[in-house]
């Protein structure tokens, strides 16, 4: 079983503060971490490898130091890591990122299963798994609450429309994993040693057979034009009426006009 786990280095979210002057992110202290739900995807890969054998390759895309996030995965048992980094990829949206990751998975070759976390804490789109599945012509089970492989069939459960569905997909397949799917194991001393010494392959655009127009801002189709803080709701506003019923109705009108409900 040749398993690829898509992982991402993200800003450590609890440390994020917004600079009131320019609305930019102020990152205090340890600035980055492995996207938390990715550990659950790696744990799912480890369980499948234990049952069926195989190799687990972590694949990430980001800045020159983004590969550091993969060490947490190596520490709990992933076999190796590949970092895709290239200045010409800066500003890639999900269209460009999906294109780049799909090319990288093709280059790895003979991949049976692509796992990922449900979404990243910085982008929060969840669009990469379907994008990669589409480009590779693979099945996709997103938001999996449980996952197992039986021969050439992926079995998973996912929440959908007020219920739980059981899905079977033929391999090769892409599957994105929820936090509820498992509890990631802790790293042991030996694993941490391996992780600290791990050397990752580094791929650039040319290694993927892509040109600059297909990556980064040039290869993207969305553009962030403004970043701004949400308006804080007013404080201590007393809603008054002739009786409770009238007050409540007025309150509901206010909430509707402010799109709270």
């Amino acid at each position: 079983m040749n398993i690829v786990v898509l992982v991402k280095q993200v800003p450590a979210i609890s440390d994020i503060e917004i600079d009131a002057k320019d609305n930019n992110l102020v990152r205090v202290g340890a600035p980055t971490m492995l996207n938390p739900v990715d550990l659950h995807a790696i744990e799912a890969a480890l369980k499948i490898k234990e049952a069926a054998g195989g190799t687990i390759t972590l694949l990430t895309m980001g800045t020159a130091t983004a590969g550091e996030a993969m060490r947490d995965g190596i520490a709990i048992g992933a076999d190796k890591g590949i970092l895709i980094t290239d200045e010409r990829m800066a500003g890639s949206d999900t269209l460009a990122t999906g294109r780049i990751l799909a090319k990288a998975i093709e280059k790895i070759g003979n991949v049976d299963l692509v796992l990922s976390g449900k979404q990243s804490t910085d982008g929060e789109t969840g669009q990469i798994p379907p994008a990669v599945a589409q480009r590779l012509g693979m099945a996709l089970v997103s938001y999996a609450e449980s996952v197992a492989v039986d021969g050439s069939v992926l079995q998973a459960t996912r929440k959908n429309h007020d219920g739980i569905e059981t899905v079977e997909a033929s391999l090769p397949a892409v599957c994105s994993i929820m936090e509820t799917a498992n509890s990631p194991r802790s790293a042991k001393v030996r694993g941490k040693m391996m992780a600290s010494k791990a050397v990752f392959d580094v791929w650039k655009l040319e290694d993927l057979g892509l040109d600059a127009a297909e990556a980064g801002a040039a290869g993207s189709a969305t553009k962030v034009t403004e970043v701004f803080p949400p308006t804080a709701p007013e404080m201590g506003f007393m809603v008054t009426g002739d009786d409770e019923g009238q007050s409540v109705k007025k309150l509901v009108e206010i909430l509707v006009s402010k799109k709270v409900i």
């Binding site: 800003p11 979210i13 994020i16 609305n23 992110l25 949206d93 269209l95 999906g98 910085d122 929060e124 969840g126 669009q127 798994p129 379907p130 994008a131 599945a133 589409q134 693979m138 099945a139 996709l140 089970v141 997103s142 938001y143 959908n160 429309h161 007020d162 219920g163 569905e165 059981t166 899905v167 079977e168 997909a169 033929s170 397949a173 993207s220 189709a221 969305t222 553009k223 962030v224 034009t225 970043v227 701004f228 949400p230 709701p233 007013e234 404080m235 201590g236 506003f237 007393m238 008054t240 009786d243 409770e244 007050s247 409540v248 109705k249 309150l251 509901v252 509707v256 709270v260 409900i261």
Partner: protein, 333 residues
């Protein structure tokens, strides 16, 4: 029929009926279309599409494109994306709105990759910018600490939209519109996957927990007695909220400690926190400071809770609850 530049809404069918978020998008789609003098087109794919088409017109679409095929019996993002792509390429809409359900996000992601289109996820607002045909999408970033404005440089502009943001149109059974059946060629495409079984989880079975509830209703000393607490619990259940209590109620033995909201109990972060009969001791205040919006009802106009609630009503919580329940139910219709 000329449909170029129109506003399209992908209408997700759940058990043959348009899903709630799709109805909300028909409302927003109507607003977008009216601001540009174009039409709203509902896109219905799969089993039951033809039967549901008329109701989608009743909910505000000017016309409906129906795609049915033997291969589209159950939702399959791969096949649905292929079907959607075929009609989108044919009619060239300006925008396609898709509800950000799990299936909707899969469909959007595949459609984006298939047609090389930009895709914006989980938008909470959108409108046409200036006089152009460009939509400005607004979506939260960093768990809502920031909002970002995004433009899409490809056409049609594609976005998934969160539920419970927009209001659907009132149903009008007399509305007339064209229903266009579009054949689609899915030969040579394997479904690759199948839903083997589905187990419905009835709303009553879902125990709304304080940890992940969007709305929390909490009861304080103002409930008077255990019977009063039960009435608040029933109100919370009726509006789909989790029910917490303040410390004095736990001290009285009316509720277990797990349900206590406050710094000595659970710290909570709902979208809306409704404090009923809670005076607002400092330990309670600290437990709800991550709530996005606090509403308080208390008979005492000097209760400290009114200082840190966003909205306050001085009055009897037992008189406020039934009206609030009725108003919220009315909104859902």
């Amino acid at each position: 029929m000329e449909m170029k530049h129109d506003v399209w809404v992908y209408v997700e069918l759940i058990n043959g009926k348009p899903g709630q978020v799709s109805l909300e998008l028909l409302g927003k789609g109507r607003e977008l279309a009216d601001s540009r003098g174009v039409s709203v087109v509902g896109l219905l794919i799969g089993q039951g599409a033809a039967e549901a088409a008329q109701s989608v017109i009743g909910y505000g679409a000017d016309s409906v494109v129906v795609v049915e095929d033997a291969a589209l019996q159950q939702f399959n993002a791969l096949l649905f994306a292929k079907a959607a792509a075929a009609v989108i390429v044919k009619y060239e809409p300006n925008v396609v709105l898709i509800g950000a359900s799990h299936d909707g996000r899969d469909l959007g992601g595949r459609l984006s990759a298939l047609l090389g289109l930009g895709l914006v996820a989980d938008c909470i607002d959108c409108s046409y910018a200036d006089d152009s045909d460009s939509i400005t999408w607004i979506r939260p970033a960093y768990t809502g600490k920031l909002l970002v404005k995004i433009l899409t440089t490809t056409r049609p502009q594609l976005a998934t939209i969160s539920d419970r943001i927009f209001r659907g149109n009132a149903f009008d059974g007399a509305r007339q519109g064209e229903i266009i059946k579009e054949p689609v060629d899915l030969s040579g495409l394997q479904p690759l996957q199948q839903v083997k079984s589905f187990e419905a989880v009835a709303p009553g079975q879902v125990d709304v927990s304080l940890d992940d509830a969007e709305i929390i209703v909490s009861a304080g000393r103002g409930v008077g007695d255990e019977e009063g607490l039960k009435k608040v619990e029933a109100f919370a259940a009726a509006i789909g909220a989790a029910c917490g209590v303040s410390k004095p109620l736990v001290d009285n033995g009316w509720a277990p400690h797990e349900r206590q909201v406050g710094v000595t109990g659970k710290k909570v972060a709902p979208k809306i926190y409704i404090a009923l009969g809670i005076s607002g001791a400092i330990q309670h205040k600290l437990g709800i400071q991550e709530a996005e919006l606090v509403i308080a009802v208390n008979t005492d106009p000097d209760a400290p809770i009114f200082k840190f609630a966003n909205y306050g009503i001085v009055g009897d919580l037992f008189k406020a609850m039934p009206v609030l329940e009725a108003e919220l139910k009315q909104l859902k219709k």
